[in-house]
């Protein structure tokens, strides 16, 4: 072929002369995401797979805010990697899930409050492990310091048994403060995300879009591949990841419902925990707890079996840390239920409360936030489709 200089001089800096729509990006991952969206926008074969590509098609250029939005909209189902004729080793080197996973993790750090915690996402496994160790040690030390050994290692039954180890008001104070802090930090993150992607504050009052987003999230619609499921070990789709996520999420929600019901029992009905096994808080907690055991184990299993090519860019430590925290919460909770009438109850309670406390305070600083930002991204996607 006769070489014409301008053909070489007018291409972009990316693989095979490809380029993004903007030269300026905050990080290399964002620049790569811009390049990929520019490639994808000229193809559009993946349009029917999920919400990311229809949202992409509404744009011709991609700012950092746009890319953070698209990255959080991506459910990492992997379909577009296996369906792409340009994925590596093709010279265009299109790997959307890997790049968006990277952008997504970076965005968590960008939105974190207070800003000083931005670094915890990079070494999240270590951070969560330390938080857990400190919390559990703190509760055990507290129990040992403030309770008689006889009480700590004694057998307690009947209403108020738990509160012999820790007064109810102390428990409410500690966990109320932890929960309020988590809510505040997550709220600040929501604000940062919403502003970064350029949505007006009032947009969250669009109840139709919020409801649509909640339905899409509740069903994991975009992890469903229109019925076939998502990719994990290879190009064969399955619904296992989705099923395990449902067990995890709804298990978590049932546990939350259990705690809420117990609170109402305590304050409205004057009934003190522990409750009999057939009572609502225990039934909700047990069923939820079982879901929260099977779900995280299943998700961990799927994670281990994930195609290494596909899991590229996905923050393994952060995902595993969160799943293990959920698993520890459910296992210690169920153990407490089974052994609550034995001398092991005191230390198990300390352990369970320590785990739950660590889960609460680390929520804004780990994988938990994926659900928040994804739901918000789904709200925006629903709004964009309407307008």
């Amino acid at each position: 072929m006769n070489e014409l200089a301008f053909l070489r001089d007018t291409v972009g800096p990316g693989p095979a002369g490809t380029a993004g729509s903007n030269a300026q990006h905050a990080t290399p991952a964002l620049a790569e995401a811009d390049r990929l969206m520019t490639v994808c926008n000229s193809c559009r074969y993946c349009e029917g797979l999920c919400a990311v590509f229809p949202a992409m098609e509404m744009r011709r250029s991609f700012s950092d805010g746009d890319l953070n939005y698209l990255a959080n909209l991506c459910h990492n189902c992997g379909a577009c990697y296996y369906d792409c004729q340009f994925s590596p080793p093709h010279e265009f080197s299109v790997h959307v899930p890997a790049t968006l996973a990277q952008v997504r993790t970076e965005s968590y750090a960008q939105y974190v409050w207070p800003r000083a915690f931005a670094g915890v996402f990079a070494r999240n496994g270590l951070f969560i492990a330390i938080a857990l160790a400190v919390a559990v040690a703190g509760f055990i030390a507290g129990f040992v310091a403030w309770t008689d050994t006889g009480v700590l290692l004694g057998t307690h039954t009947g209403p108020g048994a738990f509160y012999k180890l820790m007064p109810h008001n102390t428990m409410v104070l500690i966990f109320g403060a932890a929960a309020l802090f988590a809510v505040l930090a997550i709220g600040m993150g929501i604000r940062a995300f919403w502003r970064d992607i350029g949505e007006p504050d009032g947009a969250l009052r669009d109840t139709g879009s919020v409801w649509q987003a909640m339905k899409d999230a509740g069903r994991l619609r975009h992890l469903g591949g229109s019925g076939a499921g998502c990719m994990n070990e290879g190009e064969r789709a399955s619904n296992r990841r989705r099923a395990y996520h449902h067990l995890t999420f709804y298990g978590f929600m049932l546990c939350f419902a259990s705690t809420s019901t117990a609170t109402l029992y305590h304050y409205l009905l004057g009934m003190q925990a522990p409750y009999p096994w057939y009572d609502l808080p225990v039934v909700l907690g047990t069923v939820g707890g079982i879901g929260l055991v099977i779900g995280p184990i299943g998700l961990l299993h799927e994670k281990w079996r994930r195609d290494p090519d596909l899991s590229e860019g996905t923050p393994f430590g952060m995902d595993v840390a969160f799943l293990l925290m959920l698993l520890l919460t459910s296992i210690t909770g169920l153990a407490l239920l089974v052994l609550r009438a034995t001398p092991a109850m005191g230390l198990l309670l300390a352990l369970h409360l320590g785990v739950v406390f660590a889960l609460f305070v680390t929520m804004p600083y780990g994988k938990f936030v994926h659900g928040i930002y994804r739901l918000l991204a789904l709200v925006r996607a629903a709004r964009e489709l309407k307008h």
């Binding site: 972009g12 074969y45 098609e57 296996y82």
Partner: protein, 465 residues
């Protein structure tokens, strides 16, 4: 390769050469008929599937709208479309038969695990006629491979066939590396020869060096050549192919869909002499995109430039590479290594010839030139709003039409006019039976799927009888 040469006793009923849509449809169909099937794909697992990985839809006749198709598309209308694009150069009986068979393909392909979706956003108004694959051609291909594997079809990658043993129109065996593999019947579905630049040069001369190949680098025509050299009857004009104008900066092979440019109708197209050479507004783009590859191939150095101004920039789908831009026409010419005064003259002459009208790119509007040769008969608007843009384009070859002659059983016809006992063909390797010239979007996949399914079935029957 150390595998010993096996005995002449065939382990497989049917051998399918190729790994794309036609090959997999043939393999699935033969296996479903009860035959044991071996698929020999020259590429590795990632690159499998030849040009199918770059496709996105298939044109099938249908009586009524479906979830993914916006309205009916009758056999008669399909045939009219085919006649128009091929200018009548088609085997009418075979074409009508294929179109009739295409009706049942929508269901059959879906049964093989392929999923449909409505036509893609911003695509060429194909929503009524063409069925789009959810996730594109590679997703379609992955589904076919999974189905074939589940049925027990044996698939070998990096298994390039280098020889075919044929005795008096009767297939005996293929050679892969040092291994001779016999079988009772053959389906050849190994594509055209467009990636074989030396072969293209026989007809195009040195110009072929400047062609870009939109699809796989594996379609070197080896199997086609072996068949033609073994007395299989040839069909088609060797210079005819599916050729579109694609971005000249695209890679030599496998640039696929994203290097195409849909902006010809919005501006003018000039060659290296900065001269226009064809009516850019002859017809709506989906009906004309497939002629521009040949038009550019006929220009000096096989390169041309689509020029447009700022008013048109956002009227067409974004493409892979950014357009080259400049504040004035002479500066743009300098960037494109064109003669600035010649380009300025061409643009000025075009601008002066544009008659006022109401621009509408969805219909054949009344914006045309007057007294200009060649004219621009629709969508002619002066290029006046800076900055000015250009896309350099080269011929992008999708696939060639030279092939083997087949009948309605997809059975190869030998030079003496008899049908081969046990050799069948499907896909691009026999597309020339239906496509004498021209192209209609999605018809390559129709040819592959319809004749693939028939070839597999007939090969199985031949092998098992």
């Amino acid at each position: 390769m150390t595998a010993p040469t096996p005995s002449t006793k065939a382990e497989h009923d049917v051998i399918v050469i190729g790994g794309g849509n036609a090959a997999l449809c043939a393999a699935i169909s033969a296996r479903t008929e009860g035959a044991t099937v071996l698929v020999l794909e020259a590429a590795d697992a990632f690159w499998r599937g030849g040009n199918t990985r770059h496709t996105r839809n298939m044109r099938c006749a249908h009586d009524a709208a479906t979830e993914s198709l916006s309205g009916p598309y009758s056999e008669a209308e399909f045939f009219d479309d085919l006649l128009r694009v091929t200018k009548g150069k088609t085997d009418e009986a075979l074409a009508r038969f294929m179109i009739h068979e295409s009706k049942s393909m929508l269901g059959w392909i879906e049964e093989q695990g392929v999923r449909w979706q409505p036509s893609l956003g911003g695509t060429l108004s194909l929503g009524r006629t063409n069925s789009f694959f959810l996730g594109g051609g590679r997703a379609m291909l992955n589904a076919l491979y999974q189905t074939a594997e589940d049925l027990g079809v044996e698939i070998r990658y990096e298994a390039e066939v280098t020889d075919i043993e044929i005795e008096d129109g009767h297939f005996r065996s293929v050679t892969v590396g040092a291994e001779r593999i016999p079988a009772r019947a053959l389906v050849a579905a190994a594509g055209g020869f467009e990636s074989n630049i030396e072969w293209l040069k026989r007809y195009w001369g040195e110009a072929a060096d400047n062609f870009l190949i939109r699809g796989t680098r594996n379609n070197r025509g080896t199997v086609l050549r072996l068949l033609l050299d073994n007395d299989v009857r040839e069909v088609g004009d060797p210079t005819q192919c599916h050729a579109v104008a694609i971005d000249a900066r695209a890679p030599k092979y496998d640039g696929g869909i994203i290097t195409r440019l849909d902006c010809v109708v919005f501006g003018i197209v000039v060659n290296r002499k900065a001269e226009r050479f064809y009516d850019e507004g002859e017809d709506i783009w989906p009906k004309r995109y497939a002629i521009w590859g040949r038009l550019v191939a006929a220009q000096p150095d096989q390169i041309a430039f689509i020029l447009f101004d700022a008013s048109s920039l956002k009227m067409f789908m974004p493409s892979l590479y950014p357009p080259i831009s400049a504040p004035t026409i002479p500066e743009l010419a300098a960037k494109l290594e064109l003669d600035p005064s010649a380009l300025e003259e061409t643009v000025a002459a075009f601008n002066a010839a544009c008659r006022p009208g109401t621009f509408d790119d969805k219909i054949l509007d009344d914006c045309s030139t007057e007294g200009l040769s060649p004219p621009k008969t629709h969508w002619a608007r002066p290029l006046v709003e800076a900055p000015f843009y250009a896309y350099p384009v080269r011929p992008g070859i999708t696939f060639t039409y030279l092939g083997v002659r087949v009948d309605q059983d997809a059975r190869m016809t030998m030079k003496d006019g008899r049908g081969s006992a046990n050799m069948f063909a499907a896909g691009e390797i026999m597309a020339g039976n239906v496509l004498g010239e021209g192209y209609a979007a999605g018809i390559g996949m129709t040819i592959g799927a319809v004749f693939g399914r028939i070839a597999g079935r007939e090969a199985a029957r031949s092998a098992l009888s």
